[in-house]
């Protein structure tokens, strides 16, 4: 069963009010437990938890150290195309935005990939807008065939697709899937996505389930913080991750915590998430789900990224451009502005200074047709 029925049920609840009604005792009880229930998680997201942020941070640090050690896995995104038929009001790729549109040819992709590989990075996340007639499954499959011999791990953050298409891409060498629901508030979701295929909330919500069933090794989810009440959104994200963990025990479940960034367009987030609130979200999530990977991207500023390292983070992007071909051609088609422009070398140096080991490679392909296969 997918997350959809549980999500619909939760969506009917006044979650924001429920979270705001927790008292200090519930917070202290949650902080004292080795295993947290969904009610405990709610308590840690509540206003009553705010005075206990330091205790949450200490506990989250301990759990993260225990399960992940002092290591941070590095990856970088590669934008393949920015054609898009969606009208997401908060996104620079919105079909109505007058920006230069482009798509990498396989030769251009190879050059871009080699530029990234030269930095030492081994984990790659490829992205597109949603334009299946231009950058559809055939194009992605061809691109992955180019990338798989160069990178031991290739993940996708593209449009949601059917399970059979995920199976096809896994066969080409994809091992990870990222799908952000953006907001779990269905009514708001429909307002923010006025036109285009992304408008179908249920199909997007069930994409992580389809990816898990198809055999993805890692499935990464998240909401876009800023669109709706962050307490409610964070609770829903945690419940979504908990569902996936329970339903697909063989899949590594990961959560990203992206905050809204400036982009091409006039949209302003209605619910700004400040630094203290992001720390509360991350530490509550770490205590609720101690083994999930947590990603903090270059949407965040360098100093903030460095300071939150001990609080639950396990994966970071580095050497990032959000433009198509941005690693070799420049930055004029960026999806959004990044805050941490540090190179891979600079990121490694910053991590080491803080007592963390940057991990470039954390996967060896064993089922893909890439060059790593050992024939019998």
């Amino acid at each position: 069963m997918s997350f959809l029925p549980a999500c619909k049920e939760l969506d009917r609840q006044p979650l924001g009010d429920m979270i705001r009604n927790f008292g200090e005792n519930a917070v202290l009880r949650a902080l004292d437990k080795p295993t947290l229930s969904s009610e405990d998680y709610m308590a840690l997201l509540s206003p009553a938890a705010e005075p206990h942020l330091e205790a949450m941070a200490q506990a989250a640090h301990k759990r993260t150290l225990q399960h992940f050690g002092r290591t941070i896995q590095l990856f970088t995104p590669l934008y393949l195309a920015n054609h898009c038929s969606n009208h997401c009001v908060y996104c620079g790729f919105n079909a109505r935005n007058d920006i230069p549109r482009s798509q990498l040819s396989m030769d251009e992709l190879r050059v871009e990939a080699e530029a990234i590989a030269a930095t030492g990075l081994k984990h790659l996340l490829i992205l597109t807008g949603e334009a299946p007639n231009k950058a559809g499954v055939d194009y992605l499959e061809e691109a992955v065939t180019v990338l798989a011999p160069i990178f031991p791990s290739v993940s996708i953050e593209v449009f949601p697709m059917d399970e059979a298409d995920y199976v096809r891409l896994i066969g080409a060498g994809v091992d990870g899937l990222t799908v952000f629901q953006e907001t779990y508030n269905k009514e708001l979701y429909e307002k923010l996505h006025p036109a285009g295929p992304k408008r179908v909330y249920d199909y997007r919500l069930e994409a992580p389930d389809r990816g898990c069933r198809a055999g993805m090794r890692v499935v990464n989810i998240g909401g876009l913080l800023g669109l709706d009440d962050w307490r409610r959104e964070s609770f829903m994200t945690g419940m979504h991750a908990a569902h996936l963990l329970h339903a697909y025990p063989g899949v590594d479940i990961a959560v990203s915590l992206p905050r809204m960034r400036p982009h091409t367009g006039a949209f302003q987030p209605a619910h700004i998430v400040d630094d203290r609130q992001l720390v509360q979200i991350m530490t509550a999530l770490r205590l609720f789900l101690p083994r999930v990977s947590i990603t903090i991207s270059t949407r965040e500023a360098p100093e903030f990224r460095d300071n939150i390292l001990p609080l639950g983070v396990t994966r970071m992007s580095a050497g990032v451009t959000t433009a198509v071909g941005g690693h070799t051609k420049g930055n004029d088609t960026a999806q959004f502005d990044i805050s941490d422009p540090r190179s891979v070398d600079e990121m490694c140096s910053a991590l080491k200074t803080r007592g963390y080991q940057p991990v470039f490679k954390d996967w060896e392909p064993i089922t893909s047709p890439g060059s790593h296969e050992i024939a019998r």
């Binding site: 150290l65 225990q66 399960h67 992940f68 050690g69 002092r70 290591t71 030492g120 081994k122 090794r217 963990l245 329970h246 025990p249 063989g250 899949v251 590594d252 479940i253 083994r291 080491k352 007592g355 963390y356 080991q357 940057p358 991990v359 470039f360 490679k361 954390d362 996967w363 060896e364 064993i366 089922t367 790593h372 050992i374 019998r376």
Partner: protein, 259 residues
């Protein structure tokens, strides 16, 4: 006393195996090896990057160590077998620690798939050390499959919760005629010592050393604790009693046989 530990054609003086994961800096590894006295080190093949000019974990593993690559990331027997073959093809030797885990929440090993991989790989000449739940039936199937030792967990990986499976490990020590290496969950030197006192042949420790404030000092402490536990086991601890032996017994007046 010359108490060597023979396994897979090697004689080891240290009964502490260590890991390479979770360190803040891989350059600590040689110092931890030296301080702990360990001679066997495990590393996840998925993290080995032979192409990297620098920062390849293999560069930090001292030559005198016996490398025990592990199949971390494998979710079934077939994947574990592929990783083992890959490890051998990459020059990592014939020792392999089988980890088959398809539970990302608790990271508990799949005994059935582990036994299948063990059978295939032992026939291919690998020295197979399977990570397992301390279950007698699984242990017997691993013996039949050709394992060189078995590695029962003390507690789930990375938890540092100690020897939670003590009673089950004790049964394996009594019943299984293979070396027993307690793996996973050991959080303190005292717990490693406890496992050795019980009669385990060795212990594997990673998280407790790698995430200590001073991994080198903690490696040293674990080396000493494992040696102490082994010595205590060999020395034959005195019997324990539920009741005290009174110096002025209440039945002394009976005088039976003691006159």
């Amino acid at each position: 006393m010359n108490d060597l530990f023979d396994i897979g054609g090697k004689s080891l003086q240290s009964r502490l195996f260590i890991g390479t994961g979770k360190f803040a800096d891989d350059t600590l590894i040689p110092q931890v090896c030296e301080a702990s006295g360990s001679q066997v080190i495990t590393t996840a093949l998925r993290r080995v990057d032979m192409d990297a000019a620098t920062d390849n974990i293999m560069q930090h593993i001292p030559e005198q160590m016996t490398l025990l690559p592990n199949t971390s990331g494998a979710r079934n027997a077939d994947e574990a077998i592929r990783i083992a073959r890959l490890a051998r093809a990459m020059g990592c030797g014939d020792w392999i620690k089988i980890e088959v885990i398809s539970d990302s929440k608790y990271l508990l090993p799949d005994g059935y798939e582990t036994a299948k991989a063990t059978e295939v790989l032992s026939k291919e000449g690998f020295v197979v050390l399977p990570y397992m739940n301390p279950d007698l039936y699984v242990a017997r199937s691993l013996v039949d499959a050709g394992a060189a030792a078995i590695m029962p967990l003390g507690a789930p990986i990375g938890t540092n919760r100690g020897l939670r499976t003590e009673e089950m490990v004790r049964i394996l020590i009594e019943e299984i005629d293979l070396p027993i290496i307690v793996d996973a969950g050991i959080g303190k030197p005292s717990e490693a010592c406890q496992a050795m006192e019980m009669g385990a042949d060795a212990v594997l420790v990673n998280t407790a050393i790698a995430t200590a404030d001073d991994p080198i000092a903690m490696g040293h402490a674990f080396g000493n604790a494992v040696a102490a536990g082994r010595q205590a086991f060999l020395a034959g601890p005195g019997a324990t009693r539920t009741l005290a032996t009174a110096s002025s017994p209440l039945t002394g007046f009976l005088g039976g046989g003691q006159s």
